[in-house]
């Protein structure tokens, strides 16, 4: 992986992926998970990534997070800076350590990048407050609801002040109402910080509500099929956006792109 300096011209690309492929050995020879994936995400933009199940969305995100190595292709992201992570990930499902308190979970990333204890405490406390969990700062994850645990996970990501936020279907295991509230919270946090976000989801509604652009992936092997801009005004309150005709047209447009892929993956 190569890296580009963080300082430079405004609105530069924060993530540049070119010709990315991932193949891994399967029971019947090499399986191509990703094939020639190319896209850019400009700094400060919110980009959603949708695609049929098993298209390699999570694989792509794991490559960006540095958890796995691509077979070929390049990923260009900002250089690391002291006290900050280049990428912070919010995972789906189990996303907190059960043996750490809320505050310790939020401080985890800071601890791993060597932020001194005093600063770590202040920064973690700030982010615990911002997700409204200050009253639960000393609670353990098993004492919280699933939605609260996901807020802890989001606070941990923001606490590391990452250049890029990678979110892997973070709300997939939540009920609809909790999901809406967490989308509100994420939008509010994002509006304040304007982090570059890559948000993997299988929900068309979620993609259109949150993102500036939606990248649609093909079924296996995963490639970027289309790049759909979402020109809806912000802030995007649930009621307003649902009444907006453009919202319906956009989700329908995305389904036009996606349906063939999903049906294809089914057969």
């Amino acid at each position: 992986m190569t890296a580009a300096p963080l300082s430079g011209a405004p609105a530069r690309n924060h993530i540049a992926v070119a010709g990315l492929a991932k193949r891994y050995p399967g029971p019947r020879g090499l399986v191509t998970a990703l094939d020639d994936v190319t896209f850019v995400v400009p700094e400060g933009s919110f980009c959603a990534l949708i695609g049929p199940s098993g298209c390699g969305k999570t694989t792509l995100l794991h490559i960006l997070a540095g958890l796995i190595e691509p077979t070929s292709g390049t990923v260009t992201m900002p250089h690391p800076e002291p006290g900050r992570l280049v990428t912070a990930v919010v995972f789906q499902g189990i996303s907190t350590f059960p043996w750490l308190t809320v505050l310790q979970n939020v401080a985890y990333g800071l601890r791993m990048i060597g932020v001194p204890l005093d600063e770590r405490r202040v920064r973690a406390a700030h982010h615990v407050r911002r997700v409204g969990l200050w009253a639960f700062r000393d609670a353990f994850p098993h004492q919280l609801s699933e939605g609260m645990r996901q807020r802890v996970s989001i606070a941990r990501a923001f606490a590391t002040d990452p250049a890029i936020l990678l979110m892997d279907e973070p709300f997939a295991s939540l009920d609809e109402q909790t999901r809406l509230l967490l989308q509100d919270e994420l939008l509010r946090l994002w509006q304040d910080t304007r982090k570059t976000v890559l948000f993997v989801t299988h929900s068309l509604d979620e993609a259109v509500r949150l993102a500036d652009r939606v990248l649609v992936m093909t079924a296996s092997p995963g490639r970027i099929k289309t790049d759909v801009p979402v020109p809806l005004a912000r802030p995007r309150g649930y009621r307003e956006i649902r009444r907006d005709a453009a919202y319906g047209l956009l989700t329908a447009r995305l389904w036009d792109e996606l349906e063939a892929e999903v049906v294809g993956a089914w057969a």
Partner: protein, 253 residues
Amino acid sequence: MGVTGIRSDRLLSALSPIGFLVVWEALSRTGVLDARFVPAPSTVLHALAGMTRTGELPYHVAVTVRRIVFGFALGAVPAVAVGLAMGLSRPVRALLMPLVSAIYPIPKIAVYPLIIFYLGLGEASKIGIVALSIFFLVLLNTMAGVLALEPAYFKIARAYGADARGVFATVAFPGALPQIFTGLKLGMGFALIVIVGAELLGSDAGVGHLIWKAYQIFDVDTMFAGLLVTAVLGWVATMALDWVEQRVLPWRA
């Protein structure tokens, strides 16, 4: 479970030992049990009181406790380290597992003569046999604890920049700690069995030695007293480990 539920549980668990002693005492006093072979609990307590006054009992108990504590520390610390390494690394596991599987089932008391041969009749051999008897139990439990951890925890750690040491200290060790405690508690039972056994065979002090010495002069009261002390030692040790566990693992629901 409510507070009243916990309270009635405690009451019930006190009932069986007390009831057992009452029946035993009654059988002794009515002459159903021959006092030459099975002394009454009151006689055993009397013998215990006498030995406590002379300082004989506290001395032997202290010797045994000291051997267990040192043996535990000597066995558990490397067991946890090796267990974590085996849990975290497939090659380390492949390398060491056959050896562990082969040595684990050997009754450790059978190794005692060899240990005496190497370490002599002094404290080293007693501490050594305790360490050996708990080592594999703690190791296997630690390894199982790491292997049972959700892969998601390791993924989170790595995504947030944890290196090998960070994963070890923030995921593997705290995550395996409940299982490590299971190993320690099982080990405590084995440690008692083995140390008292070892003291019977070749020692000039300790609770096992006390029982053996009493046998040689057919002092049945003291033999029973020794057994009672062993039981209490095991019970207190388990309580102590439970107490530590509750403080170390507040995150366990």
